[in-house]
Symmetry: C2
Subunit: 219 residues, 2 copies
DNA sequence: TATTTATTTGAACGATCGTTAAAAATAGTG
DNA sequence: CACTATTTTTAACGATCGTTCAAATAAATA
Protein backbone atom coordinates (compact mmCIF):
# COMPACT_ATOMS: atom_id res chain seq x y z
CA UNK A 1 0.00 0.00 0.00
CA UNK A 2 2.71 2.43 0.98
CA UNK A 3 5.14 0.79 -1.38
CA UNK A 4 4.38 3.91 -3.36
CA UNK A 5 6.68 5.90 -1.20
CA UNK A 6 9.51 3.45 -1.57
CA UNK A 7 9.11 3.40 -5.34
CA UNK A 8 8.91 7.17 -5.50
CA UNK A 9 11.50 8.62 -7.82
CA UNK A 10 13.89 11.08 -6.32
CA UNK A 11 13.27 14.36 -8.06
CA UNK A 12 16.15 16.66 -8.92
CA UNK A 13 14.21 19.85 -9.49
CA UNK A 14 11.41 21.61 -7.70
CA UNK A 15 8.07 21.44 -9.50
CA UNK A 16 7.41 24.44 -11.69
CA UNK A 17 4.70 26.95 -10.88
CA UNK A 18 2.57 25.76 -13.79
CA UNK A 19 2.93 22.19 -12.61
CA UNK A 20 1.72 23.14 -9.14
CA UNK A 21 -1.25 24.92 -10.65
CA UNK A 22 -2.36 21.94 -12.70
CA UNK A 23 -1.80 19.72 -9.70
CA UNK A 24 -4.13 21.93 -7.69
CA UNK A 25 -6.71 21.87 -10.48
CA UNK A 26 -6.52 18.08 -10.59
CA UNK A 27 -6.89 17.70 -6.81
CA UNK A 28 -9.74 20.20 -6.71
CA UNK A 29 -11.60 18.35 -9.43
CA UNK A 30 -10.96 15.03 -7.70
CA UNK A 31 -12.18 16.51 -4.43
CA UNK A 32 -15.44 17.61 -5.97
CA UNK A 33 -16.16 14.38 -7.80
CA UNK A 34 -15.07 12.06 -5.00
CA UNK A 35 -17.28 14.07 -2.65
CA UNK A 36 -20.29 14.01 -4.96
CA UNK A 37 -20.13 10.45 -6.32
CA UNK A 38 -17.96 8.55 -3.87
CA UNK A 39 -14.77 6.68 -4.69
CA UNK A 40 -16.27 4.16 -7.10
CA UNK A 41 -18.75 6.55 -8.67
CA UNK A 42 -16.17 9.16 -9.61
CA UNK A 43 -14.17 8.58 -12.78
CA UNK A 44 -10.68 9.87 -13.54
CA UNK A 45 -11.86 10.93 -16.96
CA UNK A 46 -14.49 13.22 -15.49
CA UNK A 47 -11.86 14.67 -13.18
CA UNK A 48 -9.60 15.42 -16.11
CA UNK A 49 -12.48 17.07 -17.95
CA UNK A 50 -13.47 19.15 -14.91
CA UNK A 51 -9.88 20.17 -14.31
CA UNK A 52 -9.37 21.02 -17.96
CA UNK A 53 -6.38 18.73 -18.35
CA UNK A 54 -5.70 15.48 -20.16
CA UNK A 55 -6.45 12.12 -18.59
CA UNK A 56 -2.85 11.09 -18.14
CA UNK A 57 -2.21 14.25 -16.12
CA UNK A 58 -4.49 12.98 -13.40
CA UNK A 59 -2.33 9.93 -12.99
CA UNK A 60 0.88 11.96 -13.27
CA UNK A 61 -0.08 14.32 -10.44
CA UNK A 62 -2.20 12.00 -8.33
CA UNK A 63 -0.84 8.54 -8.94
CA UNK A 64 -3.23 5.60 -8.94
CA UNK A 65 -6.83 6.22 -7.97
CA UNK A 66 -6.46 5.17 -4.34
CA UNK A 67 -3.36 7.30 -3.93
CA UNK A 68 -5.24 10.24 -5.40
CA UNK A 69 -8.08 9.69 -2.96
CA UNK A 70 -5.71 9.62 -0.01
CA UNK A 71 -3.87 12.69 -1.24
CA UNK A 72 -7.10 14.64 -1.59
CA UNK A 73 -8.32 13.70 1.87
CA UNK A 74 -4.96 14.37 3.50
CA UNK A 75 -4.50 17.71 1.79
CA UNK A 76 -6.87 19.67 4.06
CA UNK A 77 -6.86 17.34 7.05
CA UNK A 78 -3.83 19.00 8.58
CA UNK A 79 -5.34 22.48 8.52
CA UNK A 80 -8.59 21.25 10.01
CA UNK A 81 -6.92 19.23 12.77
CA UNK A 82 -4.51 22.02 13.58
CA UNK A 83 -7.31 24.54 13.92
CA UNK A 84 -9.27 22.20 16.16
CA UNK A 85 -6.31 21.43 18.38
CA UNK A 86 -5.18 25.04 18.62
CA UNK A 87 -8.66 26.07 19.72
CA UNK A 88 -8.58 23.30 22.30
CA UNK A 89 -5.19 24.40 23.60
CA UNK A 90 -6.38 27.99 23.87
CA UNK A 91 -9.33 26.81 25.93
CA UNK A 92 -7.14 24.83 28.28
CA UNK A 93 -4.82 27.79 28.71
CA UNK A 94 -7.81 29.79 29.95
CA UNK A 95 -8.81 27.22 32.60
CA UNK A 96 -10.76 23.99 32.60
CA UNK A 97 -12.95 23.90 29.49
CA UNK A 98 -16.56 22.73 29.58
CA UNK A 99 -18.05 19.99 27.45
CA UNK A 100 -19.67 22.72 25.40
CA UNK A 101 -16.32 24.42 24.82
CA UNK A 102 -14.66 21.20 23.76
CA UNK A 103 -17.47 20.29 21.40
CA UNK A 104 -17.48 23.72 19.86
CA UNK A 105 -13.75 23.56 19.28
CA UNK A 106 -14.25 20.34 17.37
CA UNK A 107 -17.42 21.14 15.48
CA UNK A 108 -17.19 24.83 14.61
CA UNK A 109 -14.09 24.63 12.39
CA UNK A 110 -15.78 21.95 10.31
CA UNK A 111 -19.17 23.63 9.93
CA UNK A 112 -17.66 27.07 9.44
CA UNK A 113 -15.49 25.95 6.55
CA UNK A 114 -18.32 23.93 5.07
CA UNK A 115 -20.55 27.00 5.12
CA UNK A 116 -18.11 29.83 4.37
CA UNK A 117 -14.96 28.18 3.06
CA UNK A 118 -16.02 28.11 -0.57
CA UNK A 119 -17.01 25.24 -2.84
CA UNK A 120 -13.84 23.23 -2.28
CA UNK A 121 -14.26 23.13 1.46
CA UNK A 122 -17.89 22.26 1.02
CA UNK A 123 -16.84 19.32 -1.12
CA UNK A 124 -14.20 18.38 1.40
CA UNK A 125 -16.79 18.32 4.18
CA UNK A 126 -18.77 15.81 2.16
CA UNK A 127 -15.63 13.82 1.49
CA UNK A 128 -14.91 13.44 5.20
CA UNK A 129 -18.33 11.87 5.59
CA UNK A 130 -17.45 9.24 2.99
CA UNK A 131 -14.23 8.38 4.80
CA UNK A 132 -15.90 8.29 8.22
CA UNK A 133 -18.63 5.85 7.25
CA UNK A 134 -16.67 3.31 5.20
CA UNK A 135 -14.38 0.85 6.91
CA UNK A 136 -12.55 0.63 3.62
CA UNK A 137 -10.89 3.96 4.46
CA UNK A 138 -10.04 3.04 8.00
CA UNK A 139 -6.35 3.66 7.38
CA UNK A 140 -7.13 7.17 6.15
CA UNK A 141 -9.17 7.91 9.24
CA UNK A 142 -6.37 6.63 11.41
CA UNK A 143 -3.82 8.77 9.66
CA UNK A 144 -5.82 11.96 9.16
CA UNK A 145 -8.51 12.23 11.82
CA UNK A 146 -7.87 9.88 14.72
CA UNK A 147 -5.04 11.90 16.27
CA UNK A 148 -7.26 14.95 16.82
CA UNK A 149 -10.24 12.81 17.76
CA UNK A 150 -8.18 11.00 20.37
CA UNK A 151 -7.07 14.30 21.87
CA UNK A 152 -10.66 15.47 22.16
CA UNK A 153 -11.77 12.16 23.67
CA UNK A 154 -8.98 12.52 26.21
CA UNK A 155 -10.12 16.01 27.10
CA UNK A 156 -13.65 14.79 27.68
CA UNK A 157 -12.26 11.99 29.81
CA UNK A 158 -10.70 14.63 32.06
CA UNK A 159 -14.18 15.97 32.78
CA UNK A 160 -15.61 12.49 33.45
CA UNK A 161 -12.76 10.68 35.20
CA UNK A 162 -14.70 7.56 36.10
CA UNK A 163 -16.28 7.03 32.71
CA UNK A 164 -15.88 3.98 30.52
CA UNK A 165 -13.56 4.83 27.63
CA UNK A 166 -15.89 2.97 25.28
CA UNK A 167 -18.75 5.24 26.23
CA UNK A 168 -16.64 8.31 25.65
CA UNK A 169 -15.60 7.02 22.24
CA UNK A 170 -19.21 6.17 21.38
CA UNK A 171 -20.52 9.57 22.45
CA UNK A 172 -17.84 11.27 20.38
CA UNK A 173 -18.64 9.19 17.29
CA UNK A 174 -22.35 9.90 17.78
CA UNK A 175 -21.54 13.60 17.84
CA UNK A 176 -19.35 13.38 14.76
CA UNK A 177 -22.12 11.49 12.94
CA UNK A 178 -24.68 14.12 13.86
CA UNK A 179 -22.28 16.82 12.72
CA UNK A 180 -21.66 15.09 9.39
CA UNK A 181 -25.39 14.70 8.87
CA UNK A 182 -25.60 18.46 8.41
CA UNK A 183 -23.65 18.02 5.17
CA UNK A 184 -24.93 14.61 4.08
CA UNK A 185 -28.57 14.72 5.17
CA UNK A 186 -29.57 18.36 5.21
CA UNK A 187 -32.05 17.48 2.47
CA UNK A 188 -33.63 15.00 4.84
CA UNK A 189 -33.97 17.51 7.65
CA UNK A 190 -35.62 19.93 5.25
CA UNK A 191 -37.94 17.23 3.93
CA UNK A 192 -39.07 16.21 7.41
CA UNK A 193 -39.46 19.82 8.51
CA UNK A 194 -41.24 20.92 5.37
CA UNK A 195 -39.03 23.98 5.10
CA UNK A 196 -35.43 24.97 4.63
CA UNK A 197 -33.10 25.41 7.59
CA UNK A 198 -30.38 28.01 7.99
CA UNK A 199 -26.81 27.19 8.89
CA UNK A 200 -26.42 29.26 12.02
CA UNK A 201 -29.40 28.00 13.99
CA UNK A 202 -28.58 24.45 12.94
CA UNK A 203 -25.12 24.72 14.44
CA UNK A 204 -26.59 25.93 17.73
CA UNK A 205 -29.16 23.17 17.64
CA UNK A 206 -26.43 20.61 16.98
CA UNK A 207 -24.29 21.87 19.84
CA UNK A 208 -27.23 21.83 22.25
CA UNK A 209 -28.00 18.30 21.14
CA UNK A 210 -24.49 16.90 21.35
CA UNK A 211 -23.58 18.60 24.60
CA UNK A 212 -26.60 17.18 26.41
CA UNK A 213 -26.09 13.82 24.75
CA UNK A 214 -22.51 13.51 25.89
CA UNK A 215 -23.34 14.62 29.44
CA UNK A 216 -26.14 12.07 29.66
CA UNK A 217 -24.13 9.22 28.16
CA UNK A 218 -21.26 9.74 30.59
CA UNK A 219 -23.16 10.35 33.82
CA UNK B 1 -38.08 6.48 -13.53
CA UNK B 2 -41.36 4.83 -12.71
CA UNK B 3 -42.05 4.22 -16.37
CA UNK B 4 -41.09 0.73 -15.37
CA UNK B 5 -44.46 0.14 -13.88
CA UNK B 6 -46.29 1.30 -16.95
CA UNK B 7 -44.16 -0.94 -19.18
CA UNK B 8 -44.60 -3.90 -16.86
CA UNK B 9 -45.97 -6.92 -18.67
CA UNK B 10 -49.17 -8.41 -17.34
CA UNK B 11 -48.36 -11.92 -16.24
CA UNK B 12 -50.79 -14.75 -16.75
CA UNK B 13 -49.40 -17.24 -14.27
CA UNK B 14 -48.12 -16.94 -10.75
CA UNK B 15 -44.34 -17.27 -10.42
CA UNK B 16 -43.21 -20.81 -9.67
CA UNK B 17 -41.73 -21.77 -6.34
CA UNK B 18 -38.31 -22.22 -7.89
CA UNK B 19 -38.55 -18.80 -9.48
CA UNK B 20 -39.34 -17.22 -6.14
CA UNK B 21 -36.37 -18.97 -4.58
CA UNK B 22 -33.91 -17.71 -7.16
CA UNK B 23 -35.44 -14.26 -6.87
CA UNK B 24 -34.78 -14.36 -3.14
CA UNK B 25 -31.23 -15.52 -3.73
CA UNK B 26 -30.67 -12.68 -6.18
CA UNK B 27 -32.09 -10.05 -3.84
CA UNK B 28 -30.12 -11.43 -0.89
CA UNK B 29 -26.91 -11.31 -2.86
CA UNK B 30 -27.69 -7.80 -4.09
CA UNK B 31 -28.46 -6.74 -0.53
CA UNK B 32 -25.10 -7.95 0.71
CA UNK B 33 -23.04 -6.43 -2.07
CA UNK B 34 -24.90 -3.12 -2.22
CA UNK B 35 -24.48 -2.88 1.55
CA UNK B 36 -20.79 -3.69 1.47
CA UNK B 37 -19.63 -1.78 -1.61
CA UNK B 38 -22.35 0.79 -2.26
CA UNK B 39 -24.36 1.17 -5.44
CA UNK B 40 -21.47 1.93 -7.78
CA UNK B 41 -19.01 -0.42 -6.15
CA UNK B 42 -21.25 -3.48 -6.38
CA UNK B 43 -21.36 -5.32 -9.71
CA UNK B 44 -24.22 -7.38 -11.07
CA UNK B 45 -21.78 -10.09 -12.04
CA UNK B 46 -20.61 -10.50 -8.46
CA UNK B 47 -24.23 -10.67 -7.35
CA UNK B 48 -24.91 -13.46 -9.84
CA UNK B 49 -21.85 -15.31 -8.63
CA UNK B 50 -22.80 -14.91 -4.96
CA UNK B 51 -26.38 -15.98 -5.68
CA UNK B 52 -25.22 -18.94 -7.74
CA UNK B 53 -27.21 -17.93 -10.81
CA UNK B 54 -26.35 -16.65 -14.24
CA UNK B 55 -25.86 -12.96 -14.91
CA UNK B 56 -29.01 -12.53 -16.95
CA UNK B 57 -31.06 -13.86 -14.06
CA UNK B 58 -30.17 -10.82 -12.02
CA UNK B 59 -31.69 -8.60 -14.66
CA UNK B 60 -34.66 -10.89 -15.13
CA UNK B 61 -35.60 -10.85 -11.44
CA UNK B 62 -34.38 -7.40 -10.50
CA UNK B 63 -34.66 -5.31 -13.64
CA UNK B 64 -32.08 -2.63 -14.29
CA UNK B 65 -29.55 -1.87 -11.58
CA UNK B 66 -31.42 1.09 -10.10
CA UNK B 67 -34.67 -0.88 -10.01
CA UNK B 68 -32.86 -3.70 -8.27
CA UNK B 69 -31.49 -1.29 -5.70
CA UNK B 70 -34.92 0.14 -4.99
CA UNK B 71 -36.45 -3.32 -4.79
CA UNK B 72 -33.86 -4.46 -2.29
CA UNK B 73 -34.30 -1.41 -0.08
CA UNK B 74 -38.08 -1.54 -0.24
CA UNK B 75 -38.25 -5.26 0.48
CA UNK B 76 -37.63 -4.99 4.24
CA UNK B 77 -38.66 -1.36 4.72
CA UNK B 78 -42.29 -2.26 5.25
CA UNK B 79 -41.59 -4.73 8.03
CA UNK B 80 -39.29 -2.31 9.78
CA UNK B 81 -41.66 0.64 9.51
CA UNK B 82 -44.64 -1.46 10.58
CA UNK B 83 -42.83 -2.71 13.65
CA UNK B 84 -41.79 0.79 14.59
CA UNK B 85 -45.26 2.22 14.11
CA UNK B 86 -47.00 -0.63 15.91
CA UNK B 87 -44.72 -0.15 18.89
CA UNK B 88 -45.52 3.54 18.82
CA UNK B 89 -49.27 2.89 18.70
CA UNK B 90 -49.00 0.47 21.60
CA UNK B 91 -47.24 3.14 23.61
CA UNK B 92 -49.89 5.74 22.86
CA UNK B 93 -52.63 3.28 23.82
CA UNK B 94 -50.99 3.03 27.24
CA UNK B 95 -50.94 6.77 27.83
CA UNK B 96 -48.66 9.64 26.83
CA UNK B 97 -45.28 8.20 25.86
CA UNK B 98 -42.01 9.80 26.94
CA UNK B 99 -39.24 10.90 24.63
CA UNK B 100 -37.35 7.83 25.75
CA UNK B 101 -40.27 5.56 24.81
CA UNK B 102 -40.60 7.13 21.38
CA UNK B 103 -36.91 6.91 20.69
CA UNK B 104 -36.77 3.30 21.79
CA UNK B 105 -39.68 2.42 19.53
CA UNK B 106 -37.75 3.85 16.61
CA UNK B 107 -34.25 2.66 17.42
CA UNK B 108 -34.70 -0.77 18.99
CA UNK B 109 -36.27 -2.53 15.99
CA UNK B 110 -33.37 -1.40 13.85
CA UNK B 111 -30.56 -2.34 16.24
CA UNK B 112 -32.23 -5.56 17.29
CA UNK B 113 -32.51 -6.82 13.75
CA UNK B 114 -29.02 -5.65 12.92
CA UNK B 115 -27.68 -7.61 15.88
CA UNK B 116 -29.92 -10.69 15.96
CA UNK B 117 -31.72 -10.76 12.61
CA UNK B 118 -29.06 -12.71 10.77
CA UNK B 119 -26.60 -11.70 8.08
CA UNK B 120 -29.24 -10.37 5.69
CA UNK B 121 -30.66 -7.92 8.21
CA UNK B 122 -27.15 -6.89 9.12
CA UNK B 123 -26.51 -6.10 5.49
CA UNK B 124 -29.83 -4.30 5.25
CA UNK B 125 -28.91 -2.12 8.22
CA UNK B 126 -25.80 -1.04 6.37
CA UNK B 127 -27.84 -0.46 3.23
CA UNK B 128 -30.15 1.95 5.01
CA UNK B 129 -27.13 4.01 5.95
CA UNK B 130 -26.18 4.33 2.27
CA UNK B 131 -29.66 5.51 1.38
CA UNK B 132 -29.84 7.95 4.27
CA UNK B 133 -26.59 9.74 3.48
CA UNK B 134 -26.86 10.12 -0.29
CA UNK B 135 -29.20 12.66 -1.78
CA UNK B 136 -29.17 10.51 -4.90
CA UNK B 137 -31.58 8.15 -3.13
CA UNK B 138 -33.85 10.86 -1.84
CA UNK B 139 -36.85 9.33 -3.62
CA UNK B 140 -36.20 6.02 -1.90
CA UNK B 141 -36.04 7.68 1.49
CA UNK B 142 -39.27 9.50 0.75
CA UNK B 143 -41.02 6.31 -0.28
CA UNK B 144 -39.61 3.90 2.30
CA UNK B 145 -38.61 5.78 5.42
CA UNK B 146 -40.12 9.25 5.55
CA UNK B 147 -43.66 8.12 6.41
CA UNK B 148 -42.57 6.47 9.65
CA UNK B 149 -40.07 9.23 10.39
CA UNK B 150 -42.77 11.85 9.96
CA UNK B 151 -45.03 10.01 12.39
CA UNK B 152 -42.27 9.90 14.98
CA UNK B 153 -41.46 13.57 14.47
CA UNK B 154 -45.15 14.34 14.98
CA UNK B 155 -45.20 12.38 18.21
CA UNK B 156 -42.21 14.29 19.51
CA UNK B 157 -43.95 17.51 18.52
CA UNK B 158 -46.83 16.55 20.81
CA UNK B 159 -44.42 16.56 23.74
CA UNK B 160 -42.88 19.89 22.74
CA UNK B 161 -45.86 21.87 21.38
CA UNK B 162 -44.08 25.18 21.01
CA UNK B 163 -40.98 23.82 19.29
CA UNK B 164 -39.74 24.80 15.87
CA UNK B 165 -40.49 22.00 13.42
CA UNK B 166 -37.06 22.42 11.91
CA UNK B 167 -35.45 21.74 15.26
CA UNK B 168 -37.52 18.62 15.73
CA UNK B 169 -36.56 17.38 12.28
CA UNK B 170 -32.91 18.16 12.95
CA UNK B 171 -32.89 16.40 16.31
CA UNK B 172 -34.49 13.34 14.74
CA UNK B 173 -31.97 13.24 11.90
CA UNK B 174 -29.13 13.64 14.42
CA UNK B 175 -30.52 10.65 16.31
CA UNK B 176 -30.88 8.58 13.17
CA UNK B 177 -27.31 9.42 12.19
CA UNK B 178 -26.02 8.41 15.59
CA UNK B 179 -28.01 5.19 15.35
CA UNK B 180 -26.64 4.40 11.91
CA UNK B 181 -23.11 5.06 13.12
CA UNK B 182 -23.37 1.90 15.20
CA UNK B 183 -23.43 -0.06 11.95
CA UNK B 184 -21.20 2.14 9.80
CA UNK B 185 -18.61 3.36 12.29
CA UNK B 186 -18.40 0.75 15.01
CA UNK B 187 -14.82 0.19 13.91
CA UNK B 188 -14.15 3.85 14.65
CA UNK B 189 -15.64 3.64 18.13
CA UNK B 190 -13.51 0.61 18.86
CA UNK B 191 -10.41 2.32 17.47
CA UNK B 192 -10.91 5.42 19.63
CA UNK B 193 -11.75 3.34 22.70
CA UNK B 194 -8.89 0.92 22.21
CA UNK B 195 -11.21 -2.02 22.85
CA UNK B 196 -14.28 -3.70 21.41
CA UNK B 197 -17.76 -2.67 22.43
CA UNK B 198 -20.74 -4.93 22.98
CA UNK B 199 -24.11 -4.38 21.34
CA UNK B 200 -26.31 -4.17 24.41
CA UNK B 201 -24.48 -1.48 26.33
CA UNK B 202 -24.04 0.48 23.12
CA UNK B 203 -27.79 0.60 22.59
CA UNK B 204 -28.32 1.90 26.12
CA UNK B 205 -25.58 4.44 25.62
CA UNK B 206 -27.14 5.55 22.34
CA UNK B 207 -30.57 5.93 23.91
CA UNK B 208 -29.18 7.95 26.81
CA UNK B 209 -27.36 10.15 24.34
CA UNK B 210 -30.25 10.73 21.96
CA UNK B 211 -32.88 11.23 24.62
CA UNK B 212 -30.91 13.95 26.36
CA UNK B 213 -29.95 15.46 23.02
CA UNK B 214 -33.53 15.77 21.86
CA UNK B 215 -34.70 17.19 25.16
CA UNK B 216 -31.95 19.80 25.11
CA UNK B 217 -32.45 20.75 21.48
CA UNK B 218 -36.18 21.32 21.96
CA UNK B 219 -36.19 23.13 25.28
C1' DT C 1 22.89 27.69 -26.38
C1' DA C 2 23.24 22.77 -25.36
C1' DT C 3 21.71 19.38 -22.37
C1' DT C 4 19.03 17.42 -18.97
C1' DT C 5 14.85 17.04 -16.44
C1' DA C 6 9.92 17.80 -15.83
C1' DT C 7 5.56 17.96 -17.80
C1' DT C 8 2.14 17.43 -21.35
C1' DT C 9 0.15 15.17 -25.17
C1' DG C 10 -1.82 11.47 -27.76
C1' DA C 11 -3.00 6.84 -28.16
C1' DA C 12 -3.84 2.51 -26.85
C1' DC C 13 -4.13 -1.68 -23.66
C1' DG C 14 -6.92 -5.21 -21.27
C1' DA C 15 -10.57 -5.59 -18.08
C1' DT C 16 -14.96 -4.93 -16.44
C1' DC C 17 -19.21 -2.79 -16.64
C1' DG C 18 -24.71 -2.81 -17.46
C1' DT C 19 -27.75 -4.35 -20.78
C1' DT C 20 -29.94 -7.03 -24.37
C1' DA C 21 -31.48 -10.76 -27.50
C1' DA C 22 -32.36 -15.21 -28.98
C1' DA C 23 -32.32 -20.10 -28.06
C1' DA C 24 -32.98 -23.90 -24.65
C1' DA C 25 -35.20 -25.83 -20.82
C1' DT C 26 -38.73 -26.00 -17.36
C1' DA C 27 -43.28 -25.66 -15.38
C1' DG C 28 -48.18 -25.11 -15.65
C1' DT C 29 -52.70 -25.65 -18.26
C1' DG C 30 -56.14 -27.62 -21.34
C1' DC D 1 -49.85 -35.43 -24.39
C1' DA D 2 -49.92 -30.97 -26.80
C1' DC D 3 -49.59 -26.18 -26.06
C1' DT D 4 -48.44 -22.01 -23.82
C1' DA D 5 -46.08 -19.09 -20.50
C1' DT D 6 -42.28 -18.70 -17.64
C1' DT D 7 -37.66 -19.21 -16.45
C1' DT D 8 -32.92 -20.38 -17.50
C1' DT D 9 -29.04 -20.53 -20.38
C1' DT D 10 -25.67 -18.79 -23.58
C1' DA D 11 -23.53 -15.31 -25.93
C1' DA D 12 -22.55 -11.02 -27.28
C1' DC D 13 -23.01 -5.81 -27.68
C1' DG D 14 -21.21 -1.13 -26.93
C1' DA D 15 -19.47 1.73 -23.40
C1' DT D 16 -16.54 3.04 -19.87
C1' DC D 17 -13.18 2.06 -16.64
C1' DG D 18 -8.05 2.53 -14.60
C1' DT D 19 -3.62 2.23 -16.21
C1' DT D 20 0.46 2.52 -19.15
C1' DC D 21 3.84 4.08 -22.55
C1' DA D 22 6.28 6.57 -25.93
C1' DA D 23 6.61 10.75 -28.33
C1' DA D 24 6.36 15.79 -28.06
C1' DT D 25 6.82 19.99 -25.60
C1' DA D 26 8.25 23.10 -21.94
C1' DA D 27 11.25 24.47 -18.33
C1' DA D 28 15.50 24.69 -15.87
C1' DT D 29 20.41 24.21 -15.52
C1' DA D 30 25.29 24.39 -16.89
Amino acid sequence: MNAVRTQEKRRQRAPSKRSLETRTRVLDAAEKLFAEHGFDGASLRDMAKLAGVHLAQVNFHGGAKEELFFTVVARRAGELSQLRLETLEDLKARGRPTVRNILEAFIHPYLDRAAHGGPQWLAYARLIAHVSTDIRWRHISEACFDPAATAFAGEIAVLYPGSDHRKIAAALVFSVSAMLSLTTARWRIDALAGSQSDDISMEDCLLDYCEAGIRAALS
